[in-house]
């Protein structure tokens, strides 16, 4: 009897279905890259490079996933990331302490999250407007702090930056015969911890499920006894906090503050979330999907570059095309489901 029960497979939920599609497409795309472009894509280091370059994008994509599941949007994440980088670099260069710089990063992110969350949830202002204002504010602040790029000169921090995790068994032997182990930056570890933590939050913690309920049907969530205002508030607070973490990870990767850092990152994060199966309408999405969404987006860009199309607009054009393709795919798949149910 128990066996029987385990054998009956439940059809996938919308969230699981969209996530599986993303993972499938990522794998197919990567295989295509290996077959046609070969070389670099065969090495594990290729994946680690993608992770190293995009750790902070993964983190803000997670932030967007949470907010979008709750039916909102946060476009301040990129600008907050940039503000955090600039503030921390300046602080460290003035002889600051690494531990305090981490607190500073978290504090800036948290501050943005609290204020934006309050305005959106309790004063009921449109999230797009609030976070647009937050974005301009953070960008402006970054420029006020310094118009010129600032390179980190803090010796302790530079040491932290140089620390890489080496994974020998994924390495390869270079043409000159030297063995090169796969290298992963500390920021990637932070990003992966964020992914795992948010996965647990969304699946096993009450607050996380409440995000889904709120995004699925706000009126219902209210009737089911969920404190919708508080739930929404928390979604923006978490998003702000993740932007702060993203800023620190960004700084660990580049080591320099620049007013144009992380430009357009919020849009890439939205794109990653959508490709990862998060619906802009809310209630559906998953952080594992978002992780693979980010990788998919990066792989496309790599493929474009590797094909010799070096101009940046080719990346934009392909990203735009992919996004259209995914949204179309989502609505076709979900539409087909709805039809099947009705018949």
């Amino acid at each position: 009897m128990k066996m029987m029960k385990n054998m009956r497979k439940e059809p996938l939920t919308d969230t699981q279905l969209l996530m599986s599609i993303t993972i499938g497409i990522f794998i197919v795309m990567y295989l295509v890259a290996i077959i046609f472009l070969g070389g670099g894509f065969l090495h594990a280091q290729q994946i680690f490079d993608m992770l190293n370059d995009n750790a902070s994008l993964i983190i803000v994509s997670c932030a967007l996933t949470i907010v979008m599941i709750g039916g909102g949007i946060d476009i301040s994440v990129g600008a907050v990331t940039s503000l955090v980088v600039m503030s921390c670099v300046l602080y460290l260069n003035s002889g600051g302490n690494i531990f305090v710089s981490i607190l500073l990063a978290l504090g800036i992110g948290l501050g943005f999250g609290l204020v934006q969350g309050f305005l959106i949830s309790y004063l009921e202002i449109q999230p797009f407007i609030v976070t647009l204002a937050g974005m301009f504010f953070a960008r402006g602040m970054t420029t006020i702090l310094s118009v010129n790029p600032q390179k980190s000169e803090h010796s302790g921090f530079e040491k932290l930056r140089e620390m890489k995790i080496e994974i020998p068994f994924l390495g390869y032997t270079a043409k000159n015969g030297n063995f090169v182990p796969a290298r992963m930056e500390l920021g990637v570890v932070v990003a992966l911890i964020c992914v795992v933590f948010i996965f647990i939050l969304l699946k096993y913690i009450r607050l996380g499920r409440n995000f889904y309920a709120m995004g699925g049907n706000q009126q219902s969530a209210l009737m089911l006894g969920i404190n919708v205002k508080r739930t929404r508030f928390f979604s923006y607070v978490i998003s702000g906090l993740l932007s702060g973490i993203s800023g620190y990870v960004f700084m660990m990767h580049t080591g320099a503050g620049n007013a144009t850092n992380a430009a357009g990152m919020e849009m890439n994060a939205i794109a990653s979330s959508i490709i990862g199966g998060t619906l802009l309408t809310g209630g559906v999405g998953n952080v594992i999907g978002t992780f693979f969404g980010t990788l998919t987006l990066t792989t496309i860009k790599k493929i474009v570059v590797s094909s010799g199309l070096n101009d940046p607009w080719w990346q934009s054009i392909t990203t735009g095309g992919m996004l259209c393709f995914f949204i179309l795919l989502q609505s076709v798949v979900l539409g087909k489901r709805a039809k099947k149910k009705n018949s």
Partner: protein, 498 residues
Amino acid sequence: MENCLLKMRHIEKRFPGVLALNNVDFTLRKGEIHALMGENGAGKSTLIKILTGVYQMDAGEITVEDTAVSIRSPQDAQNKGISTVYQEITLCPNLTVAENMFIGREGGNWVRHTEDEKRADEILKLLGIPARSTQQLGSCSLAVQQMVAIARAVDQNCKVLILDEPTSSLDDKEVKMLFDLMRDLKSKGVGIIFVTHFLEQVYEVSDRITVLRNGELVGEYLVEDLPQVELVSKMIGKELDELSTLKESDEEDISKKEVLYEAKSLSSSEAEPFDFTIHKGEVNGFTGLLGSGRSESVRAIFGADKVTGGNVTIKGKNAKITRPIDAMKHGIGYLSEDRKRDGIIAELSVRENIMLALQVMNGFFKPISRSESEAFADEYIKVLNIKTASRETPVGSLSGGNQQKVILARWLLTHPDYLILDEPTRGIDVGTKLEIQKLVLKLAEEGVSVTFISSEVEEMLRTCSRLIVMRDRHIVGELTGKDLNQAQVMKTIAGGEA
């Protein structure tokens, strides 16, 4: 009474300018299904909202199992064992069945999926609900979703279960499933308040009926003591024997005139197939209780809902009407029941609202000149006696009756051959009502055909020469000539022998 579950005594609720509930009593016993009946504005939803903590009563007392309680919020009501399942499902379709049953309730910070799912499966099995706990709610039928909402209430130890129009979006088979569940809960001692407008369902499942009218209690009856005809007359407020026959319409034989519009087994996503004919210059009407399908039928004629079948001929020629614009091109105008939602655009001026339909008919590339539209607006403001500060006043600031006249002007301007008026007199004062009725008769004299719908039977009798009676989404009779009197209408509505 020892098995008395819920008592509401001398309940009073006042809204600005209206006494919504006046000294209403309501009693619910353990293990009974109690139907709460009344037409629009009778006060049933106010009573329900007081019971669920959405409104606070101004006077009166509520006792649950002989303890006086005050209900401050919907959450509070649930804690006191009063749960409500609403017409629109208030669950989240993107979550699983189990999650929907347990989300938002007391408990720690962690979601215990396996435990919740086990518990949910037990309840679903106990209540015989055909759903699995791990299923996404959105993949269940509406009826099952509704049952899951009930299961949630049951698991919250509800003693009083309020079902507010639960059957309005269910088909016959699903209704049967729901009724079985209701009977099952009843045998477990739950008291159920059943609000519906389907008379037959009331008789199928209820034990007792409480009737409200105009915010006052008409009475509480055992189902077997109250035949359907009497229930209808109590709801509408006229005793059958004191009904006097009203004025007959002049016996000019309208059916000899040319047929303007004819539909054969027309159906839409909302309306069951029906046949319908209207002659040139005829005023006819759809009547029936709220929810009997009268609005849905006329919406099908106008193409306002998705038309799913049927043949339509207009002036003897085949016509295909699938969208409102098709209907408009065939000279059909439609004044909707809900003027806030389908009719007026509150932010636009009186003139702009009047010009809307004509502009759509002309197409957007043939603009109507400003001076022309001002002239039209002024003319109709005068003809219909619309009370507005100027033709540029936003419609939203006008009174309900005048808003209605603006929409009427909009359609008259397109010179329709056939005008459908759905509840044109709802919520407007008696004087304006009469004006609109007179206008309808005048239009008919000029050769316009009119279909008129109103909840007030008297009004229909005054204006229509033929009444089509609907019950539970089907046409159950057509009354003309000397059959056009209130007693006959009521009998037909209730389903008594003619």
